[in-house]
């Protein structure tokens, strides 16, 4: 199961994968133990091997302990998972590290629009550029995004970043990520948004610093980019 | 069967409750016209509404004579939707 996780290229993706592993092993042990117990009972206590069943109502406290003690262990493990999972959640969704780069992401049926502030670093100015389905970011930089939607609910999902956030019409939702490896990664829509939902897919390009500069120049022109 | 005397008393009680309900309804109207702060007015108006509703449920719907199970059936949903409303405040009411 673990090997099916796609490559991780974000700073918090490692935490998500780590959490996945922890829960996988904890629940895996319980799962295997429970199933083994079940199948052992079915074989060992089949009526061909058992003349007189054990009469136990499980009501006295010593008998109830056979259920309640494992349950107590489950409770302890639950609280542990809550703690670790809560920390991961906090890091991804509640902390907003200082931005190195900004982008506005807008979902619409059935495309992603990425609006870049341009060399002046401000939105709402003449040099803003909107590119459909192509997100370009530099590697090793915190990218802050503001997510919104023009029509229905979409969900901005980048598996390689372990990032998912719904784009909700009428709201602007802030988020961030920091990519750790240059390359191209796919962006999907993870919330049913109409008949074109399956085709609503974009590409995240993570550039090295030099590549990113080249991309900026080719997009805004050398003169303007130099002004930055 | 109740005695005639008890019956008259019960009837008088129902009418007394109604009198209170009407008085409270007028009081709520009065509060809405008073020049007091909005919060104070809201608290007073909905306080009065709660009292009225409680009176109707207690005396007209005979909740005061009912057993625990009926109280539970009536009160749990009230608590539940109030809890729902409170939980949704950060998402819906404070979203801007």
């Amino acid at each position: 199961m673990l090997t099916w996780l796609p490559q991780n290229v974000s700073t918090f993706g490692g935490d998500v994968d780590h959490l996945f592993h922890i829960i996988y092993y904890i629940t895996g042990v319980w799962f295997v133990a429970a199933e083994l117990f079940l199948f052992y009972c079915l074989v060992r206590f089949h009526k061909s091997r058992q003349a007189q069943p054990l009469y136990a109502r499980g009501e006295s406290s010593s008998q109830a302990a056979w259920v309640l003690v494992p349950v107590l262990v489950v409770l302890m493990l639950d609280l542990g998972i809550d703690k670790i999972g809560g920390d991961v959640w906090h890091r991804i969704k509640l902390e907003l590290p200082p931005a190195g780069d900004q982008v506005h992401v807008t979902g619409k049926q059935f495309n992603w629009e990425f609006t870049y502030p341009g060399p002046d670093g401000k939105f709402g100015t003449a040099d803003d550029q909107t590119i459909e389905n192509e997100l370009h970011v530099p590697v090793g930089t915190v990218v802050r995004f503001e997510l919104s939607s023009k029509d229905v609910i979409h969900s901005f999902f980048v598996p390689a970043l372990r990032l998912k956030q719904d784009a909700m019409p009428g709201r602007t939702i802030k988020g961030w990520f920091e990519a750790t490896q240059p390359g191209t990664y796919e962006i999907a829509c993870a919330e049913l948004c109409g008949f074109g939902h399956y085709g609503m897919h974009g590409v995240l390009t993570v550039h090295t610093a030099a590549d990113y500069q080249r991309w900026v120049q080719s997009t805004w022109g050398a003169a303007k980019a130099a002004a930055k | 069967m109740e005695t005639l005397l008890e019956s008259a008393a019960t009837r008088a009680h129902y009418i007394a409750i109604w009198r209170w309900l009407v008085v409270l309804a007028i009081a709520a109207l009065g509060v809405s016209l008073l020049p007091i702060s909005k919060i104070a007015a809201l608290v007073l108006i909905f306080g009065i509404a709660v009292v009225k509703a409680a009176m109707v449920m207690r005396d007209y719907m005979h909740l005061k004579a009912e057993t625990l199970i009926i109280h539970a059936i009536a009160l749990i949903p009230i608590l539940l939707f109030i809890g729902l409303a409170l939980t949704l405040i950060p998402d819906i009411a404070l979203r801007h």
Partner: protein, 200 residues
């Protein structure tokens, strides 16, 4: 309950738990009302949250006719009184009283609906429809559903009145009480709708 008559005494005592003393009609009606509380609770929750989120609904709320609303409040409270008096009449065996009070309740219910109709008419004439903004959507939806509930209550009371006139109501004595529970519930809903929609 009837079955206990057949039981040996040894087990009769086992059964004295709290639930079996309640007539099943009352459990059923209260259960139904509880689900209604959740429905109206849902509406009120949405309304209150939206109202807080948006502001500016006071301007819209100023256009509803609070005077007619207040009259209607008194009408409905009075109908609750006549309803409970009808129930009381059944309890004490007052045959004329049952008919009178059921009839009064129905008349008051109809009065409420007529006044509400005038209100709607005036509001539509001023150009306020369910599409004139969220406040008006909620206003028409909630008062409309409340009116429908009242209409159902009137129909229930009419059937009770017919039974009273025919004299069959005495064989199934708690029906007026059960109908009354529903009627009072509709009143309670209005007790909250009135300040929510008219007074704030």
């Amino acid at each position: 309950m009837g079955a206990s008559a057949h039981a040996p005494t040894a087990v009769a005592a086992v059964n004295d738990d709290a639930f079996k003393d309640i007539a099943r009609g009352r459990i059923a009606v209260w259960w139904f009302l509880a689900s209604e509380i959740m429905v109206f609770g849902g509406f009120i929750t949405c309304y209150v949250l939206f109202r807080y989120a948006h502001g500016g609904w006071e301007d819209a709320a100023r256009h509803v006719n609070w005077k007619l609303g207040a009259v209607n409040t008194v009408v409905l409270l009075t109908s609750s009184l006549t309803m409970i008096l009808a129930h009381h009449a059944v309890k004490v065996g007052d045959k004329q009283g049952v008919k009178t009070f059921l009839g009064l309740t129905i008349a008051l219910g109809l009065t409420f609906l007529v006044i509400k109709g005038f209100e709607y008419h005036a509001e539509f004439a001023e150009g306020f429809t369910p599409l004139s903004g969220l406040f008006w959507s909620f206003y028409f939806l909630m008062t409309g559903l409340h009116g429908l509930h009242l209409l159902v209550g009137i129909i229930i009371n009419l059937s009770l009145l017919v039974m009273a006139l025919r004299g069959t109501i005495w064989a199934c004595g708690d029906r007026v009480e059960l109908g009354g529970l529903y009627w009072h519930f509709v009143d309670v809903v209005w007790i909250f709708l009135f300040p929510l929609l008219y007074l704030t």
